[in-house]
């Protein structure tokens, strides 16, 4: 295999290996939504096949190669190993335009299935649409348990904070934050990005549902940080 072919083969092999590592380690779900999981599997197979093809045929053919380009292609892999297990937190949530996907009156509510629990999105929707709240059965005093990270969006009452979690569709670039306001009974404060599990009940405050905690536990970031 000549120089240019070997560089192409190395870049493709690194990406094939990286794709395989993403799948094998489970880290794939940090970056990619379940609906596009197949893209990475396809990438691994195609990159491995292309590597083999270039390695086998590379002796007979030449072609130029851009070394700077090849190095740029390896940059994402280096960055991932330099910053392991990155996550979206309060900073990313504060930069998103909206976490409320549906406006009141346009949403066509679906009842929760057996065993399904009320989560961030349902509480957000319920605050937007009383019709949806009635369909799901969310009322004042409804018991819930939520796991998310702490954020402090502007406009909250003093002492309150928000518990936030992202949902993603294709990849982390399209992440949408979902937040529920927490109204604690004590004045203990929590820093941004601290992961908490909160058990409590919902309280209707002028049509907006806030969570009044009965217990707050600090936890490590879950393996799957997103709402599925």
């Amino acid at each position: 295999m000549r120089g240019p072919s070997s560089i192409k083969a190395v870049v493709l092999a690194v990406w094939a290996g990286f794709f395989v590592w993403l799948v094998a380690s489970g880290e794939i779900y940090r970056y990619i939504g379940p609906r596009t999981y197949w893209v990475v599997v396809f990438g691994a197979v195609a990159a491995a096949a292309a590597t083999l093809l270039i390695a086998i045929t590379g002796r007979r053919t030449g072609g130029g190669v851009d070394l700077i380009g090849a190095l740029a292609m390896l940059l994402p892999v280096v960055i991932v190993f330099a910053v392991p297990r990155p996550s979206l937190g309060a900073l990313a949530a504060s930069h998103k335009l909206s976490g409320v996907p549906i406006t009141a009156g346009t949403f066509q509510p679906a009842a929760l299935g057996p065993g399904e629990k009320v989560s961030f999105a349902e509480i957000e929707y319920a605050s937007e649409s009383s019709k949806y709240a009635a369909t799901v059965g969310i009322t004042d005093g409804y018991p819930v348990e939520l796991t998310g990270f702490v954020t402090h969006p502007a406009g909250l009452a003093a002492g309150n904070f928000a518990l936030t979690r992202f949902s993603i569709y294709c990849c982390a670039a399209d992440a949408v934050p979902h937040s529920v306001t927490i109204a604690p009974r004590d004045d203990k404060s929590y820093p941004d990005d601290r992961w908490l599990t909160i058990e409590g009940h919902l309280q209707d405050v002028d049509g907006d549902y806030v969570l009044v905690p009965e217990s707050i536990r600090s936890i490590e970031e879950p393996e799957d940080p997103y709402i599925r």
């Binding site: 192409k8 053919t61 190669v65 740029a72 280096v78 335009l97 406006t103």
Partner: protein
């Protein structure tokens, strides 16, 4: 390659030892940057694969026959051809470049490239699903498909008239590989590897810029203009440019922009797959510099007009 390996290891150690990776800015950038590249790169590889097949295995006669068709016929056929090539925008760029190189009229090649990320069954289906919750599924699918097709045909007609020589950026390996066919399989492998590396580096640069801007710039900077249809549409086109989302997912983000008029959301869905940060760099890899400028000159007014008509029809 040993030097590269050592530099890479040094960079990893430096970031880990200094805890620079713990900063929220670093974490957000890393996650968004990597996610965009990981999701898009397999499509670049698929595009490179199809491109290599076209270059090596499709006979010249096929392209000569296509090239002899009137441009007025090639343009809409090529734009509708996106329906049969359901990949994201990253995959269609190398394919369009190769089609034009092999003799397809440049107008038709550009129309195909711009239409395929919008007018493809997966993207239209995801648009349907996203807007079903708002009872606007078929309106949004029709609006997106039609405005996308009009934009692709208009841009192809306006940009492709100069001919292939003036449109395509020449690459060092274009001729070298073509004239060095040890075997068809060898030529195929070289074209595949060459296209992947060439387009991939621009994807990496575009993704890095998109991630950097998403990390430092709050989207709320345009929220104040949300209620005005014209400014709202221009604002969401700017968001689409910066966000660099995959066209298969962008409808789920667009539907969350509830403070913007529905026409502005359509502008986001039509403009994003045609022009964004990562695409700007991919286009720069495939086409000469003024391609992007001319595309901007066509895409903004056509998308804006389409979004306003759509808004008026739905009122």
């Amino acid at each position: 390659m040993l030097v590269v390996l050592l530099v890479g290891i040094a960079a990893v150690l430096a970031v880990r030892l200094t805890s620079a990776g713990d900063a929220a800015v670093t974490q957000t950038f890393t996650l968004i940057f990597t996610a965009i590249v990981v999701e898009a790169l397999p499509f670049v590889l698929l595009g490179a694969l199809v491109s290599a097949v076209i270059e090596v295995f499709v006979p010249d006669a096929a392209f000569q026959r296509l090239g002899r068709l009137p441009v007025g016929l090639q343009l809409p056929i090529a734009a509708l051809g996106g329906f049969a090539f359901p990949v994201c925008e990253c995959g269609s760029v190398p394919v369009a470049r190769r089609l034009i190189r092999r003799g397809l009229d440049p107008s038709a090649g550009v129309a195909f490239m711009l239409a395929s990320p919008i007018f493809n069954p997966i993207v239209l289906a995801s648009t349907w699903v996203a807007y079903s919750s708002r009872g606007l599924a078929w309106q949004m699918v029709l609006g997106r498909g039609l405005v996308g097709l009009v934009l692709a045909i208009a841009a192809g007609w306006a940009i492709g008239t100069d001919g292939a020589q003036a449109l395509l950026r020449k690459r060092a390996d274009d001729e070298e590989v073509t004239h060095d066919h040890g075997s068809k399989l060898g030529a195929f492998a070289e074209h595949l590897g060459g296209d992947f590396l060439f387009m991939g580096k621009f994807l990496v640069i575009g993704a890095a810029l998109a991630a950097a801007i998403q990390t430092v710039l709050p989207q709320s900077f345009i929220a104040g203009v949300a209620r005005t249809p014209v400014i709202g549409s221009l604002g969401l086109m700017a968001v689409a440019y910066v966000a660099s989302l995959c066209s298969e997912a962008d409808a789920f983000v667009a539907v969350s922009f509830t403070q913007f008029p529905i026409g502005s959301q359509l502008a986001f869905l039509v403009f994003g797959p045609v022009l964004d940060f990562k695409l700007t760099f991919l286009y720069s890899a495939a086409f000469r510099n003024r391609f992007v400028i001319r595309l901007v000159a066509v895409a903004i007014p056509v998308t804006l007009a389409g979004s306003l008509v759509f808004e008026a029809l739905l009122r």
